[in-house]
Amino acid sequence: MRTAMVVLRKDLRLEMRTWETLPAMVLFALVTFVIFHFGLNRTTIDGQLAAGVLVVTLLFAAMLGINRLFVAEREQGGFDAFLLAPVDRTALLVAKASALFLFLVVLEIVAVPAFGLFLLGPSLGHALPGLILLLALANLALAVIGTFVSAIAVHTRARDLIGPMLGLPLLVPALIATARGAGPLLAASHAASTPPGKWVLILALYDVVFGLIAYAVFDFLLEE
């Protein structure tokens, strides 16, 4: 845990020095909302459509972060430096997944209110607690699977393609659960203030399963 904190602190410091990832993720999400606004030719959306637009946008914005997750490690020898240290290698998984989780939280702090303001018909207020729970679980899935996939892709020549090609199919179940869970929350009727338990459970289970898989195999992914 201590090593993971050391790596996480370094990653956050690097991001605050360069601003190479977060602004791109936020801008991408905002631009996508504008594209949906014109593409759907609707002033406002609600229900399952709104949930789909929100979750898909966040997923694609997350892919930008996932693709850049190990760039400094690859280009500046960070991998070798870490592998030469007498530390548990899974600390890198924990650190990178935590960094990605934090980036997603910041992205959502900007993107979700913007979505509520410019695209969503019903007010966001009553749905917010349920949405925060769903997005936290979805972020965990994105962070763990994103780190896992990025660690595989980083050693390949077509890394920019491999990340989304491996990551997106693996994230489809999480996407479905998040969108189906958020649909009732964003309905015009304000029918629900908490997400359906089934989807929350599926998301939580997905997080646990992939967390364990990533923990078990991450060590081997770092080998050349």
Binding site: V6, K10, L14, Q76, A81, P86
Partner: protein, 229 residues
């Protein structure tokens, strides 16, 4: 010649990259405190060998033993005792020299006071707060040396350690990575004569295979000429 228990023992080590053989049948023993000079033309397998010794690459055949431990099986036990100075400085360009060294010190669980010590040793205290990307190649190399010896390794893996250094800077790093450091060293150099002068054992590689293993005094100008022909 330095004698003592071997710090490095390679037996019939091989490594391939797809169809290409980077190393084949490499066997050598290096005593603790001794210096192994690895010579060969570009692409002969020197860097591959250093990466295997650093436990960053798995050998595909043969056995590697470092500081008494089989590698990579028990590499986790000796990683903290290896210092690698390779082609890349292993420093983040957007962090300062001090931030980079503090990061490495935390990874190696070394007291942060040691960062000041090594910065002083490579005379980089005044530029320690500058981002690495703003430093000259020579200064970056001095920081890379500081990074490699920060945790007081017992085994130094040095791939062209004096690259980009002027004679003054080269003298400056001598106590840290030279014979005076007391470390077992594996050394490659673009200047084979200077590497031979520092060596207790020579391993000459030609197309990944050993062309000569033994005493530098027996290596001779003729073999040197043939190796780089």
């Amino acid at each position: 010649m330095v004698s003592g228990p071997p710090a490095i023992e390679l037996r019939a080590v091989a490594r391939h990259f797809g169809e290409r053989t980077a190393l084949r049948d490499v066997s050598v023993t290096v005593a603790a405190g001794a210096t192994l000079a690895v010579l060969g033309r570009n692409g002969a397998g020197k860097t591959t060998l250093l990466r295997i010794l650093a436990s960053l690459l798995r050998p595909h055949a043969g056995a590697v033993e470092l500081l008494g431990e089989p590698v990579p099986a028990r590499a986790h036990l000796i990683r903290g005792q290896l210092g690698l100075l390779g082609h890349e400085p292993l420093l983040y360009r957007d962090l300062s020299g001090r931030e980079n060294l503090e990061y490495h010190a935390r990874l190696h669980r070394v007291a942060l006071e040691r960062v000041d010590e090594v910065l002083e040793a490579v005379q980089m205290e005044r530029r320690a707060s500058d981002p690495v990307r703003l430093l000259s190649r020579g200064m970056t190399q001095r920081l890379a040396v500081a990074r490699a010896v920060l945790h007081r390794p017992r085994l130094l893996l040095l791939d062209e350690p004096r690259a980009n250094l002027d004679p003054g800077a080269s003298d400056l790093i001598e106590p840290l990575i030279g014979r005076a450091s007391g470390c077992t060293r594996v050394l490659t150099s673009h200047d084979p004569r200077s590497a031979l002068a520092e060596a207790d054992v020579v391993l000459a590689l030609k197309d990944g295979r050993p062309a000569f293993v033994g005493d530098p005094a027996e290596f001779g100008e003729e073999r040197l000429g043939a190796l780089y022909a």
